[in-house]
């Protein structure tokens, strides 16, 4: 209460302004804590972007078993010598002699000689030393370009020899979609938490009236929850696939493999209700979501988000809701289309098309998660009274008057004022 009094302009404005609106201090504290945690996560994610650890480094080493007690782990010396010497067998006879087999130091048979073990502390040293050609080799290395021919083998993509774009795809997936996607999701969540902490929950300024107005029918609500539950499931399974390497790997390789399988199948199982929901919502709500001049005013005033007194006029859906609607229809629609494409590999397009489809799917998906976070926020903890519109379909009359005045007038003039 005290916080709100400080913000309250002296005298108030609206005639319906009978008492001070609630300030929800608990929500603000929650918002502040969440903002702090998210800030730390953002900082970690930002560090991840520049710490250059996404290089592939060897994790397993080859070697022969130790021959004395002094030695720990495998010895790579003999492996190295045998592999080098074996390779010289392929050389021209005029260089390595007419019968190279006679001069070999090692004889190899069909028994296993080398073992493998995990490298205890993998470092990027080997990768770096491999990455630059030794002196004089550059001249014999052919340049990079796309090379395609024909192949007598009947497999998808068998005719492509080299496709340098794949290296860029790796950047798009591992850097842009994954890292920047995490930044977008965490950053947006941080903004929302900060808004909750600084601005507080949007109250019903006039207080609850006690009388209800029907806002959404059962079919609208059913469609909404079908779509949202399937979206949450798709988002969570998608996050397992996209971020499992950071979030689940610490619990073990096998656990990640199992979670990955579940996520892959779950991701496909929740697609039909999501696609159906998108279609139904488009048919149900598109006529309420066409842009109008009201939206310009609404957006200019920031939706009245930053003041309890300001309530820009709106019909059934305000400009913010229209933005959510169109992101869900367009973003969700694109996700469904690219998703179907990915479920049937090489049915519609070749390897390059599939690669782009996957990249678009991943980038739209992380952005959609961020957008829907905003939608969940304002529909639950962000605004008093908003949640019930979608839960039991009824909203408080004063809530409707403040946020959707023109819509309230419309239904009042159709049915007569609610009793």
């Amino acid at each position: 209460m005290t916080m709100m009094n400080a913000n309250d302009p002296v005298g108030g404005t609206g005639s319906s302004h009978h008492k001070n609106p609630p300030s929800f201090p608990g929500y603000r504290i929650f918002g502040a804590i969440a903002a702090l945690i998210l800030l730390v996560l953002l900082a970690i994610q930002f560090f991840e972007l520049f710490d250059n650890d996404n290089q592939t480094i060897p994790e397993v080493r080859w070697g022969t078993p130790p021959i004395s007690d002094v030695q720990t782990g495998l010895s790579g010396v003999q492996t190295d010598e045998i592999l080098r010497e074996r390779a010289t067998l392929q050389a021209e006879r005029q260089i390595y002699g007419p019968s190279p087999e006679n001069d070999r130091t090692f004889q190899v048979g069909s028994e296993t000689q080398f073992l493998t073990e995990e490298i205890e502390d993998p470092s990027p040293f080997l990768t770096r030393s491999w990455a630059s050609p030794p002196d004089g080799e550059t001249a014999m290395v052919r340049g990079t370009d796309r090379v395609e021919g024909v192949s007598s083998l009947p497999y998808v993509g068998a005719e492509v020899f080299e496709r340098p774009f794949a290296r860029d795809w790796r950047l798009g997936m591992a850097d842009i979609a994954t890292h920047l996607g995490a930044l977008a999701i965490l950053g947006f969540a941080f903004l929302l938490a900060a808004v909750l902490a600084l601005r507080g929950r949007v109250p019903i300024v006039a207080g609850k009236s006690g009388s209800k107005v029907k806002r959404f029918g059962w079919f609208e609500r059913m469609t909404h929850w079908m779509t949202s539950v399937s979206f949450l499931a798709l988002a969570l399974t998608g996050i397992v696939i996209a971020y499992g390497d950071s979030l689940i790997l610490p619990f073990g390789d096998d656990f990640l493999g199992q979670a990955g399988w579940l996520a892959t199948w779950g991701h496909m199982m929740f697609f039909p209700p999501f696609a159906l929901g998108i279609l139904l919502m488009f048919v149900m709500w598109v006529k309420h979501n066409l842009p109008s001049k009201l939206d310009v005013t609404w957006l200019k005033q920031g939706g009245g988000m930053f003041s309890d007194e300001l309530h820009p006029s709106a019909r059934k859906f305000n400009a913010g809701q229209k933005l959510i609607f169109w992101s869900v229809i367009l973003g969700g629609g694109l996700l469904v289309l690219t998703g179907i494409g990915l479920m049937f590999p090489f049915f519609w397009t070749g390897i390059d098309g599939m690669a782009w489809t996957m990249l678009i799917h991943a980038i739209i998906a992380v952005l959609m998660i961020a957008v829907i976070l905003g939608h969940i926020y304002i529909g639950s903890i962000g605004m008093q009274g908003a949640f019930w519109a979608m839960w039991n379909g009824d909203v408080d009359r004063n809530w409707a008057a403040e946020h959707h005045d023109l819509w309230l007038n419309e239904i009042d003039s159709k049915k007569g004022p609610a009793e």
Binding site: W62, Q90, L115, S132, M140, G260, T264
Partner: protein, 197 residues
Amino acid sequence: MARVKFLCDTDRCIECNACSTSCKNEHEVPWGMVRRRVVTINDGQPGEKSIAISCMHCTDAPCVAVCPTSTLYQTDIGVVLHDKDNCIGCGYCFYACPFGAPQFPRATLFGSRGIMDKCTYCAGGPEENGSEAEFKKYGRNRIAEGKLPICAEVCSTRALLAGDGEVIGEIYRERVLSRGFGSGAWGWKTAYYPEEA
């Protein structure tokens, strides 16, 4: 430590497909998948060239970097291996591979992919080297026996070379010098020196 590579001399490859065939046989690769294949460029025209390609076991391998379940891993001789128990068949490695190496069986509903299979440089997988379980999943482990991949060792024109990069690079260079021509080590820049401008 040796850094093993593949090098295919396009001036020698005669598209006999012995490498693909012996590979399929050595590892008992299932139907619908091929670990090594031969591509012919300018087929039937002057300047026709053939080249055998499989997984090149890249430096800073992109497939390992994009794999969401840490199925793929690299060893200290450069060989990129995979763990079939963790693969979820997402196909990321296929999109990130410049050489189309990962293969997927069409095993499940919805046309989705089964578990990935790819060239192991005849070096098996995470199971115990030379074990029956390893053979069933990944094929023969010739590296553990001190041998090189069957595709290169079987090549009748010695077009396909395998083994330590310096050794086979030297063999190729000597060859080019003595015969007087050569079109270079194909794919090496993309596979082994991705950062060289």
